[in-house]
């Protein structure tokens, strides 16, 4: 025989559970309606305007399996941080052109580049950059090498680079390239040049 008090308590709890269920369902629906359109539709940040400057971009080539230096004239702002961001965005635009030798998704973008410490750069990629990146040791490593080499060649003083995705650490770029460590510019350059 179930005591009356216990019966009433269970009944109240059941009513509460059902009510909370309806409440959460409503909140979930509202959140869904508030979600922005698909990530793939995110626009790539437009290039900066202003006087152009000659830079060297290290462009990845899947067929050759390496980087090739490519001169470019791009508008660059004065600040080191903004300069670093525009450099990488210029690099991205090459990869997003039809027929690129190392294609990246159209929605890939550089959220920010932080120069947090003398010699340290932190590159923050958007989610689409990593989520839509092709998976493979070589293709992922080429992307990392290209970003790091381009930064190091054009922003003096950078010796180490860390890569985040949406402001957070991520294990790998797309299943292979380890993003949990700092990339040492010198070590990486030795690796790129064939050890």
């Amino acid at each position: 025989m179930i005591p009356r008090a216990l019966f009433i308590t269970i009944a109240i709890m059941l009513v509460l559970v059902i009510a909370l269920g309806f409440y959460f369902r409503r909140i979930q629906r509202q959140a869904y309606e508030l979600e922005p359109a698909a990530t793939a539709a995110l626009p790539v940040t437009p290039p900066a305007s202003g006087p152009t400057e000659s830079v060297t971009l290290y462009v990845a080539d899947d067929v050759a399996g390496g980087l090739r230096p490519q001169s470019a004239k791009i508008p660059l702002p004065g600040g080191r941080q903004q300069r670093a961001e525009e450099l990488l965005r210029a690099l991205l635009r090459i990869y997003q052109q039809p027929g690129a030798g190392h294609a990246l998704a159209a929605a890939s973008d550089i959220r920010s580049v932080y120069l947090v410490d003398p010699g340290v750069a932190v590159v923050d990629l958007n989610a689409a950059f990593a989520d839509q990146h092709r998976s493979g040791i070589m293709v992922e490593q080429l992307t990392v090498n290209s970003l790091v080499e381009t930064l190091a060649a054009n922003v003096p003083g950078i010796s180490r680079v860390s890569i985040l995705v949406e402001g957070k650490p991520r294990e790998t770029l797309a299943g292979h390239a380890d993003l949990t460590q700092f990339f040492d510019v010198q070590t990486l350059a030795q690796g790129v040049s064939g050890q």
Binding site: D62, V63, I137, V139, T172, D178, Q181, D184, Q195
Partner: protein, 491 residues
């Protein structure tokens, strides 16, 4: 809670059932399967007087396989072969061709069970290669894998029996009065020309071969205690008088005709059996600790990347990187074993392993080389990679920093990388050599490389082609074998 008499009784019952299960498992019937890509054993189940085995489990190590159960039908797809079975019926269709089974097909909890006696006719339809089935012994040989020993009795200076095999073998060796017994549990050893060979010697009198329940047995009868020596990278076993007997009989002359790994086997007791780790298929004989350590120096770790929920790259619509690396890993294991290496395959099924777990297992094994296997759909040929070491703090005394454990052996890793790349090049693979920030390469404290297999001239089809993978695996094994001395002598 455990204090009540009922609960105590339940716990006692549980313990007894566990012990009973463990005791009976030793006598379980099993089917041993020997194939170029894998050697494995499956449990036999008895139903209505017939012996059955799970068809999906049987085919899984041999290729890509999937099954589907629907009302009245059980379908299976192996590589590109489709087959359909009907529960309770003895007639099946494989690629549209009717095949008769020796007993009704059964479906239990979605698993398709096929009678063991049907395998000799059923499997060739799936595999397209020759299948030799020793039904009474429950030993199944796929392709040309059988190893037939040849026996030669040498009488001078001391009588000894030389048993030669075509490939490295790893028997469990034991003795009993008047006999030395070799049990081949993982080797596709078949009998010599005649099952019993008599010798014209008063010391070693007879050799007899038998096979039962998935295990082959070669017994050497003798009048004195014997010792077994492994030579020629475990391809030859020399059986001679134990040292004490030999010295007593021959006034101090050496008992062993050739140097090698020896297994002492006096009449007082049996040598301990080899370790039972199912993924460690090492040609390591049961041996005294000092000798065992010497043989372990030729241990290679093969690591098929990804697995479980972590599928790796999507190589095609229905082809995940994890599946290609698993098959590729099994082939590489075989190729290394053929060259006399013991191999620890870190993943021999679709199970998930973290990179730290992989590095931990490899480091604990104290192997001489670690090979991580990957696959990719873009590009052609293969890429061979060594670690791109991250910036980390210094080592702390004898403890190595986890993220740069590879640092002290990186130069040897690059030697291995060059050797493997060279052998791949000889086999017409387009090869790249690079450094990559790929875990767990930097966490591994032994020479370590990663190989990423890309399609060949036939495009994506090459990635699932056994011959293409076999060619790549042979090249990798050749490369590692070519620097074997450098690997063994590393600090």
């Amino acid at each position: 809670m455990l204090s009540t008499p009922t609960n105590k009784l339940l716990v006692l019952l549980l313990v007894m059932l566990t012990l009973l299960a463990a005791a009976t498992s030793a006598d379980e019937k099993q089917l041993s399967v020997y194939a170029p890509v894998a050697t494995y054993a499956l449990p036999i189940q008895e139903r209505s007087g017939h012996e059955y085995v799970g068809l999906l489990e049987l085919l899984e190590p041999l290729g890509r396989v999937s099954s589907e159960a629907s009302t009245g039908r059980w379908r299976i797809r192996f590589n590109a072969i489709d087959a359909e079975f009907a529960p309770g019926k003895t007639r099946a269709r494989v690629q549209g061709r009717v095949t008769d089974l020796t007993a009704p097909f059964l479906v239990e909890n979605g698993r398709g069970l096929v009678s063991v006696a049907s395998l000799g006719t059923l499997l060739p339809r799936f595999l397209g290669s020759a299948v030799s089935f020793h039904e009474s012994a429950r030993r199944l040989f796929i392709g040309n894998v059988a190893i037939r020993p040849s026996l030669q009795l040498v009488t001078e200076p001391q009588p000894h029996l030389v048993v030669s095999f075509g490939a490295a073998v790893n028997p469990t060796i034991s003795t009993e009065p008047g006999k030395l017994r070799m049990l081949f549990k993982h080797d596709p050893v078949v009998g010599p020309e005649t099952s019993t060979v008599s010798f014209d010697s008063k010391v070693i009198t007879e050799a007899s071969f038998s096979e039962t329940n998935g295990v082959a047995e070669l017994d050497i009868a003798a009048a004195i205690p014997l010792i077994a020596s492994f030579n020629n990278n475990a391809r030859t076993i020399t059986i001679s008088a134990a040292p004490s007997v030999a010295s007593g009989n021959a006034a101090g002359q050496p008992a062993q005709a050739a140097a090698g790994t020896s297994v002492a086997a006096g009449t007082s007791g049996a040598a301990p059996p080899a370790a039972g780790n199912p993924t460690l298929t090492a040609p390591v004989p049961s041996a005294p600790a000092a000798v065992q350590q010497n043989v372990n120096r030729l241990l290679a770790v093969v690591d098929p990347a990804h697995g479980g929920d972590e599928r790796g790259a999507a190589l095609a619509d229905n082809l995940a990187e994890k599946d290609v690396t698993l098959g590729f890993g099994r082939l590489l294991r075989h190729e290394l074993e053929v060259r006399g290496f013991a191999v620890l395959l870190l993943r021999d099924g679709d199970n998930a392993l973290g990179t730290d777990q992989r590095a931990g297992a490899a480091n604990a094994a104290h192997a001489i080389v670690y090979i991580s296997l990957h696959a990719v759909s873009q590009g052609t040929g293969a890429g061979v990679y060594t670690a791109l070491l991250p910036v980390t703090g210094p080592n702390n005394g004898t403890f190595r920093a986890w993220n740069s454990a590879q640092a002290s052996v990186l130069s040897v890793s690059r030697t291995v990388e060059s050797a493997v790349a060279s052998e791949l090049g000889k086999k017409q693979f387009q090869v790249r050599e690079e450094a990559a920030s790929l875990r767990p390469l930097n966490n591994v404290a032994m020479p370590a490389i990663a190989v990423e297999l890309a399609p060949g001239p036939n495009g994506l089809a090459d990635l699932t082609s056994a011959s293409y993978q076999q060619k790549a695996a042979a090249a990798i094994a050749d490369g590692i074998n070519s620097v074997r001395d450098r690997l063994v002598t590393q600090p």
